[in-house]
Structure formats: C-alpha cells, structure tokens
C-alpha cells in the first residue's frame, strides 16, 4: 500500500528552490512525508477490518477467536450455528429498518423546514437538532433509562426503537439539509414557469434532486442504528438482544467465529454496493 500511493509525486515545489539537486533518500522521504503518514493512517484504519475478515476463516481451539490456528470454512457454512446470534442479527436488522424509515421521514421534514423557511424559533430548533450530536451516548442512554423506569415503561424492542430514532434524527437532518441548501432555487422557479404547480414541482424536481441526500441520510441512520451498543444497552431487556449486544456478551463469554462471518459479509456487501454505485456513476457520466 505504501508503495502504490507513495509513487505519486508530492506537489510541485514553488520557484524558490533553484535547480534540481541530487535527491537523497531523505529528500524523497521528506517530500513525500504526507503520503507516508497518510498511508500509515490508512493501515491503522483498515487493519482491524482485515483481521475481522481473516479470522472469519479461523478455527480456534478454545472459546475465543483471538489467535490464528488454521483455515476453516466452518463458520461460513454454518453461520447460525452460534446460539442466539442469528436471532440478534434479525432483531438488529428489523430495528435498523424501522428506525431508518421513521428517522428519515421526520428528519427530512425538519430539513425542509429549516432549509426553506424563516420562522420564529429557528435558532432554537437548530440547537435542539445539534444537542443530541454533542451528547455522549452514555448520557443519552442513561437519561432515557431514567425516563422509562420512572414512567414504568417496560424495556424492550419498543424502547430501543424510540432511542434509535431519537439519535438518528439529527444526522438525517444535517445530511438532507446540506443537500437542499446546495439546490439551485432557479430549478424550482423554472418548473413553476413550465406549468408545474407546487406539488408537481416538489414531486418532479425537488424530491428527485434531494433524493441522494435523503438516501445518504437513510444509510447513515441505518448504520448508526445497526451498530449502536451503548444507548441500546441501557434500553434493552434480556429478551431483546441486538447484534452489538450479542457481540459484547460474546466478548466476555467466548467469541464464536460466526460474528466475524457476519462482520465480513456486511463489509463485503457495503464495499460491493459502493463499487457498483461508483461504476454506475462513471458510466453515466461517460455515456457520451
């Protein structure tokens, strides 16, 4: 990795350096120091993913999947063999989907209100959107717990869902709002000029153009919900174990290889989706 990116020259030096001197290894290193650090940073970022993938093919000796023993496809062939794991995965997916739909809907509505209207209470609304993003999860989770306990609301799927929608909402708002703000207002004026009424303009012009922002917000919401442990842990019961909770429990009891299979599968799916998206985008722009 270091070499492939390292080959690209650092930016041209400004004219203050006269003729090209003989470049020592040290000079080369110094000129490419940004790339060296960047490459190391990428290694740092991606190494754990690599380990997760690699260890999905491991056959550990004991209960813990921490040291490499030998190659095996067992976990891939029997992904649900780890007791309770597939149930927790399905719960996480369900909660993720519902939380995403609700948070995206509510968040998109707020984003339109904030991006398109001047009204009393705008600053206050912005603050209310910002605060959940500036609050540590442990505080959000514990405060919701006190609410649910005081009101006598039983913990479980519903309380998890409520919490997930709450902390996903702000991220959707911020993502969609940015997209709306980047929209050329003349496009909507042009639609009105071409006989589209307010609803048709929204349906045919505004919504399709904001859609990538909404999609990005929804993806973000889903990944936040699917991956959340801290808030969930405060608002779940023993009967509602999400996938992150299952992994957490496994870390103490023994880590089945199957959790790595799930992690790897999600990783591969996401990379494929991104690659396909990029490819489609490139083909579209090259379709001259």
């Amino acid at each position: 990795m270091t070499t492939t990116v390292g080959q690209r020259p650092a930016g041209a030096k400004p004219a203050t350096i006269p003729a090209r001197r003989r470049r020592s290894a040290w000079t080369v290193l110094r000129e490419n120091v940004v790339w060296v650090v960047a490459a190391l940073a990428l290694v740092y970022l991606l190494l754990p993913n690599l380990v997760v993938v690699l260890f999905s093919f491991n056959k550990p000796n004991g209960r813990f999947n921490y040291t490499w023993q030998r190659f095996s496809l067992d976990a891939w062939l029997h992904p649900c063999a780890a007791p309770g794991m597939c149930e927790s995965l399905s719960l996480s997916l369900k909660i993720g989907v519902v939380a995403t739909v609700v948070a995206t809907l509510l968040g998109t509505m707020i984003a339109f209100a904030l991006a398109r209207y001047r009204f009393h209470g705008r600053a206050g609304s912005n603050l209310l959107i910002f605060l959940p993003m500036a609050t540590p999860e442990v505080v959000m989770g514990s405060s919701l717990l006190t609410l649910f306990v005081s009101m006598g609301i039983p913990l479980g799927r519903v309380t998890i869902l409520i919490a997930h929608i709450m902390f996903c909402l702000s991220y959707v708002v911020v993502t969609v709002k940015a997209r709306i703000a980047g929209l050329d207002p003349r496009l909507e004026q042009a639609a009105a000029d071409l006989y589209a009424n307010e609803w048709q303009t929204f349906r045919r012009i505004t919504l399709p153009l904001v859609a990538p922002g909404i999609a990005a917000g929804a993806l973000l919401a889903f990944s936040l919900s699917f991956d959340d442990y801290i808030v969930t842990n405060f608002n779940a019961s023993n009967a509602s174990i999400t996938f992150p909770m299952y992994v957490w429990g496994a870390a103490a009891r023994g880590t089945p290889v199957q959790i790595n299979v799930i992690g790897t599968a999600m990783f591969v799916l996401a990379v494929l989706a991104v690659a396909l998206g990029q490819l489609a985008g490139r083909r579209r722009s090259r379709a001259h």
Binding site: R8, A10, K13, P14, A15, T16, V33, W35, V37, A41, L42, Y44, L45, L46, P48, N49, F55, Y66, T67, T108, M109, I110, F112, A113, Y117, S125, N126, L128, F130, P132, T135, P136, V138, V139, S142, S143, T146, M166, L169, E188, E198, T201, F202, R203, V210, P212, I214, Y229, I230, F234, P244, V247, A251, T255, G263, F267, A270, V271, A280, R284
Partner: protein, 310 residues
C-alpha cells in the same frame, strides 16, 4: 457525485410546501414540518435530561422507589469517589483527539489535495471501517495487540515495551490491558470522524492559493501555516468535537482493551445503572459528564471563533 436519476426512493414528505420560496405564504407550514421530529426530540431527548437531573437529586432504592429530596450531596460524593475516572476520561479523550488530529490531518490533506483521481477510492477506504461493526473491530485490536502478535514482537524486539512500561503506558510485558491500548483504540475508533470534516474543508481549498503563496515567496511550510491551516480551521474544530465528545463518554475501548486501572467514567455510569442499580449516583455522574462536556465545547467553539458549525 452522480445525479439523482437512479435514486427515486426516499419517503414521501408530508407537504408540497417545499416548492414555495422562503418566508412566504402559509406561516404554519414550517411548524407542521418540524412538529413530529422536534416533538420526538423533546420527549425522548430533552425530557429524559430533566428526568436524569431529577433522578440525580432523589434518594431511595430501585426496589422501594425514589423520592425527590434535592440531595445535592450525591454529586459531591459521586464526584469525589470517581474523580480519577472522571479526569481520566477527559485525559484519554484529549489524547485520542490530539492523536487523531495528528494522524488525520496528513491523511485528509493527501486525499483532498494530492490524490487526484484516487480521491474517491481513498475516501471509501476512510469510511470502510464503518462497514463492520465497531465492537468487532475493537475486538480485533485484542488480536492485533495480543502477546503473540506481530506488533508485540516488534515492541519486544526493539525494547520499546520497556520504555512504554517505564512511562506507565503499558504494564508488565504486554500491550493489551494498558492505557496505551485504550488510547490506541479510542483514536482508532474516532479517526474517521476527524478525517471526514478535515477533508471537507481542505477539499474546498483552491490549490491555486498555495501556488499564489509560493509565488509570493512563502516556503511550503509558511504557505501551510499561513494559508492551508487557517482555511481548514472549521474542519479542525468540527473534527476535534466529533472525536472528543464521543471519546469522553466511551467505555467500550477501556472495557475491551484496558484494565480496572484504565476505567473511564462511562464504565462507572453503566455499572451503577445496570449492575449496582444505584440510580442517583449514576444519574449524578451522567449529568455531570453532560454539563462538563457542554461547557468545554461551548468554550472551545467560542474561542476558536467558528460558531456556525450547526
């Protein structure tokens, strides 16, 4: 990014009002759009905060019930008892933020200004960790740092381990279960949150500005100090906040990669709520954490002069 053509989806938003221009006609529309979402945040974010505050001033037990007695002593007791964990949380969060900035800035800089057509690929590589559950990735650090791993062998071979042990960053002859491992994990987990806003602000920088600075006799270092760095300040502020806030409240890393002596305040809050069931103490610590972070953040944002983050 490509245009919207393929993505027809998205939920049907409730109103056609979006087509109207700002500040005109139906005064009720924005409130109608805001109401459900803000109500949700009000009921499930603001109200719980009040419950948390109230809980922290109550006395009683979970079995017999709590009564609001304005028992402020819970705060002084809890904070004096857990002052070490409290301070340690901010110390680790600060270290992780600093490290993430030092590592993340060159990365964001390289992607934004030097990567050329590799930019999208490198960006995906920065986001890629998110594609796998963060708990799994944190567990992976146990594998990476364990005593048979390559990293450990390198540390042992170079006797770095003696140095880190002498500094108190590691204990004994291992990397895991140490402050070093916890800070490594924290930095790792929140690094993308640092890189992405940095990238966003550096990507907006016109490379011709740097050429102009060079033309005006600035060395590359001066150009960086006088042009690049000031112009990327919004990204620095956003990135440090996005790293510091979750890091200060985190307990996953200290739990999975640390030892009892690296416990952070999140762990204490979690334990007091869910295992010891001492709600007032846990609520007091939680509320104190929230207030401390809000104060720190508002001071920081004000001093850095970028109040338009929201």
């Amino acid at each position: 990014m490509s245009s919207a053509a393929g993505l027809g989806g998205g939920p049907p938003a409730g109103s056609p009002a979006a087509a109207a221009r700002p500040g005109r006609r139906f005064a009720g529309v924005p409130y109608f759009l805001l109401l459900p979402g803000l109500l949700w945040l009000g009921v499930f974010f603001v109200v719980p905060m009040l419950f948390l505050l109230s809980q922290s001033l109550q006395t009683g037990t979970l079995e017999t019930g709590y009564r609001l007695t304005f028992h402020f002593a819970t705060y002084t007791d809890a904070l004096s008892q857990f002052s070490r964990q409290f301070l340690r949380s901010f110390e680790y969060a600060f270290l992780a933020t600093l490290l993430a900035l030092l590592i993340g800035y060159p990365l964001a800089y390289a992607i934004a200004l030097k990567a050329g057509r590799w930019k999208p690929v490198l960006l995906v590589m920065v986001v890629a960790p998110f594609f796998t559950s963060f708990l799994l990735r944190t567990l992976a650090w146990q594998t990476i740092l364990n005593s048979d791993g390559l990293v450990m062998r390198f540390f042992r071979g170079t006797h770095l381990i003696s140095l880190t042990s002498a500094l108190g960053w590691t204990n004994g002859n291992q990397l895991l279960s140490s402050p070093l491992a916890v800070v490594t994990g924290l930095t790792y987990n929140f690094l993308p949150f640092m890189v992405l806003p940095l990238f966003a602000s550096l990507d907006r920088l016109d490379p011709r500005l740097l050429e102009a600075a060079g033309d005006l006799y600035a060395t590359p270092l001066t150009a960086f100090r006088r042009v690049t760095l000031p112009m990327s300040m919004p990204g620095v502020v956003a990135g440090t906040l996005l790293t510091f806030i979750p890091a200060a409240g985190d307990f996953i890393n200290s739990q999975l990669l640390g030892n009892p002596k690296t416990a952070m305040i999140g762990q204490v809050i979690e334990g007091y709520f869910l295992r010891i069931n001492d709600y007032p103490t846990a609520a007091a610590l939680s509320f104190a954490l929230m207030v401390t972070i809000l104060v720190l953040v508002s001071v920081y944002v004000r001093r850095s002069g970028t109040e338009e983050l929201v």
